[in-house]
Each structure stands twice: as C-alpha cells, then as structure tokens.
C-alpha cells in the first residue's frame, strides 16, 4: 500500500472525518455505540452457535436454559446485577471517587 508517488503518499495522511450532527461529539459517540452494537451481535451469534453445538452433543438442556430462572437462581444473580448497575450508573452522579482537586 505504499507508493513513491507523492499524490498517493499524501492520500494516506489522516484526513478529518465528516460530521453530520450539530455537535460533532455525537458523531464520535455514535461510532462507539455502533462498534459496541457490532460486538454485541458477534457475541450473540457466537453464543447461539455454542448453544446449538452443546445441545446437539447432549451437553445442554435448551429448555432449561430458556426457562425463567427459579427463585433461588434469581436471588443468586441479584447481588451481581446490583453491583453492575451501581457501577454503570455511578458516573451519572458526577462525584469524584477519590479525594482529588475541586472541580
């Protein structure tokens, strides 16, 4: 992908990306969101494939996996879910986690 032609070399210098929204921060955030969305889909695809493979080999009971969790299982998941949500949402509060400079 390299050429001695200066026109070609120039074409590989980074050029500023186009913007579409009034605030270019949205343009860039959309890129992050869609990159994550792609990852989510790739993981879903892989998970479904894995489940199919395991079920085919008799290592997974698909009906059990799909059923609503029993109360004991739900309780076991609750603490982890709460920790996840607390971490996810704490940024919204806008409070320093360590004692640092004033804002």
């Amino acid at each position: 992908m390299h050429s001695p032609d200066p026109t070609v070399a120039d074409s590989f210098k980074p050029r500023p990306e186009q913007t579409f929204f009034e605030d270019p921060a949205i343009d860039r955030a959309m890129g992050v969101i869609m990159a994550l969305a792609t990852e989510v889909y790739v993981m879903r695809d892989r998970q479904f494939a894995l489940e199919r493979l395991l079920a085919t080999r008799g290592l997974l009971d698909a009906a059990e996996l799909d059923a609503e969790p029993a109360a004991a299982d739900a309780a076991a998941a609750a603490a982890d879910r709460e920790a996840f949500v607390t971490h996810l949402m704490s940024s919204v509060l806008g409070v320093q986690a360590s004692k640092g400079m004033t804002a």
Partner: protein, 359 residues
C-alpha cells in the same frame, strides 16, 4: 491535527470466520434498514417540509436547506458514511479479514490465466487521489484488493440480492436488444469481471476483451473460466486499432472519473468502434427530481465518490454528438422488478443506460 490514522495493519487477535461473517451480516442488516426504512422516512419528512416551504425546492441547495436541521437526515448521513467505514475498515471489516487470508489469496491469484498486466502503466492522478467506496488503499494498490472489492460488491445493494445477477442480466438484455450478434466486444473498466461474465455468456461466439486500471481486480476476473482476454489498460487510451469493435460497454465506470477523462474515454470508444457499432454504458445519470439529485450528490460525498456529481452535471448527449455518435439514448434503467414504479420506496441508485451508435 494531532490525530493519527487508525492502524489497520496489526489485528490483535485472529478473526474467526464465524465472527467475520457475523460482523459483516450485522453491518449489512443495518444497511438494509437504512435502505428500506430510514430513506423512505427521510423522503416523507422532506415532502412534508417541501409542501409547507415558502418556495418549492428546485435545486440541490434548496433541498439541502430544507433538510439541514433534520435529525433524521443527520442520522441518515451518519449511517451511510460510517456503516460503509465499518464494512471496510472496522474490526470485522473486509480489510482485516483479507489481510489475515493474504497468503491463501495470493496463492489463488497465481492460478489466473488470460490476464495481461502492465507494471509500467501509470495510474491517473484522479484514480489514486481518493479511496473510492471508502476502500482503504482503493481498488488497485494492494495485491488482494480485487478480492476485497468482489466481497464488498456482493452487499453494495443488499436489497437486490447477493450477486447482482438480476441487475447484470437485465443490462445484458438491454445490450442484446441494441447489438444482437457482435463479433468483437470491449468491456471498459471491467473490474473483477462481474460485468464481463454475463456478456461473455450472452455472446459465446464473440471475441471479448476487457480492460481495467487495477491489476488486482483483473487477476481476480481472470480466475473465472470464461474466454475473455483481460488486459491492464486505461480505457481512455487503449492500444486497439481504429474501427476494431462492434460493441463497447461499461458498467459503473463513467462516474469514477472526472469529466475530461469521461470525454477521453467516450472519444476512445468512438475511435475503436466500427462505423455503425454500438456503445452502451450503465451508470448513474438520470435524476428525476431535486430530492433524488440531492441524495445522489451527497451519497457521492459520503461514499468517497467525488465524480458522481460532475458526471451528473455533464451534458452527455451534447458530448456524444460532438464525438461523432448518433442515435443517442439516455434512459432510466430498472435494475430490479418494480424499481422504477412510483410505489417503490427504498433507496436506489439512479441507474441509467447511456447508449449511442458510432456514425
């Protein structure tokens, strides 16, 4: 600017075939939504705005003014630009995948026969100054670029199926009506051979030559068993004798070059055609209304197609007559059943057949 270009050279981990296929299928599904849902919604919003505007929009700028502050239009533009970027340059992009398969792909290219390359050929400046389709490095600079382009083209118009078969077959029908039994055919800008193969099948008795600037594309084209002579050459300056061909064609070539190069290419077609010979191009030209024109011009900007707008602004009919053509016909082309009917709502290219006869 302090930003550096993203490093596409060194993927951190191997990309599995499943993950690549899943990532690409996701990107295509988003593009399908864009074609089939976002675009009709944008058109509806535009029509509503136009109906209540002080002046009826007549120009591309009028349409732009009406849509500039539309949230829907902003998302429409973003998705058009960036899902194409993801398709090529993303983590599950065509570049990452083909780089990983490089060894095997280069091995396959060695099987290509019937291809005549010209390592001394100087690439035109316009051709190397912009990576068309947002294909990093363009369709010509990397040895595996032909495979990248071939894979990319299979989802360029996701509503039309994976192989464009309908479109190319329909164009070949048009060619067959204009030129029923040509003996010598030249396909200009043949790329990886997608346009040439249906022509070769339609005219099994004809001697078919196909030229393109891109060696990597020609080598992919020549992997197919059809009896076509693929040659690396600028369509605007071939080495064929005068009055040599009965038929000259191109598919999606003219919009990839600036107007002076379009003129040189058409003049070259006139030179190599026999008197009475037919020239038939499939490209993007007929724009029925200001909204369609605006969408086409801004597509050109978003998809790195700098010469779509200049081609659409050319006086092709006048140019062809000046170059010695007669029976000039410029007509909308229906690339799929119903695509030209008023009720057809999804986004589509402004397909146009441009045909003429060498006087």
């Amino acid at each position: 600017m302090n930003a550096t270009a993203p490093n596409l050279q060194t993927p951190a981990t191997a990309l599995s075939s499943r993950s690549f296929a899943a990532g690409q299928s996701f990107i295509t599904a988003v593009k399908v939504f864009w074609h089939a849902e976002l675009f009709p919604a944008l058109r509806a919003e535009y029509e509503q705005r136009a109906a209540t505007a002080q002046h009826r929009p007549e120009t591309v700028d009028d349409v732009g003014s009406l849509l500039r502050d539309s949230t829907l239009y902003q998302y429409f533009g973003w998705f058009e630009r960036h899902m194409q970027r993801f398709k090529y340059a993303g983590r599950y992009g065509l570049i990452a995948w083909h780089r990983q398969q490089r060894g095997e792909l280069l091995g396959r290219l060695d099987e290509a026969s019937n291809v005549e390359l010209d390592p001394q050929l100087e690439m035109p400046r316009y051709y190397v100054s912009c990576d068309i389709h947002q294909h990093p490095g363009g369709v010509w600079s990397d040895d595996v670029a032909g495979f990248v382009y071939e894979r990319a083209a299979s989802t360029t118009t996701p509503l039309a199926g994976t192989k464009h078969a309908d479109l190319h077959d329909r164009f070949t029908d048009v060619i067959g009506r204009e030129s029923s039994s040509p003996q010598r055919v030249l396909d200009m800008g043949c790329g990886f051979g997608k346009s040439t193969r249906p022509i070769a099948e339609r005219f099994p008795e004809a001697k078919i030559d196909a030229v393109d600037l891109s060696a990597p594309c020609l080598r992919v084209a020549a992997l197919e068993p059809h009896d076509v002579r693929y040659r690396q050459m600028d369509a605007a300056a071939t080495d064929y004798p005068d009055a040599h061909f009965d038929l000259v064609t191109s598919t999606m070539l003219l919009h990839e070059m600036p107007p002076p190069a379009v003129e040189r290419t058409l003049a070259e077609a006139a030179r190599v055609l026999k008197p009475g010979g037919k020239m038939i191009h499939l490209d993007f030209y007929h724009l029925a209304d200001p909204f369609t024109r605006f969408i086409h011009y801004t597509h050109g900007r978003r998809n790195n197609e700098p010469f779509m707008e200049p081609l659409a602004e050319m006086d092709l009919e006048g140019t062809l007559e000046r170059l010695g053509f007669t029976n000039v016909r410029i007509e909308p082309f229906e690339e799929a059943e119903g695509a030209l009917s008023p009720g057809f709502r999804p986004w589509r290219f402004p397909w146009t057949v441009i045909s003429a006869e060498r006087a």
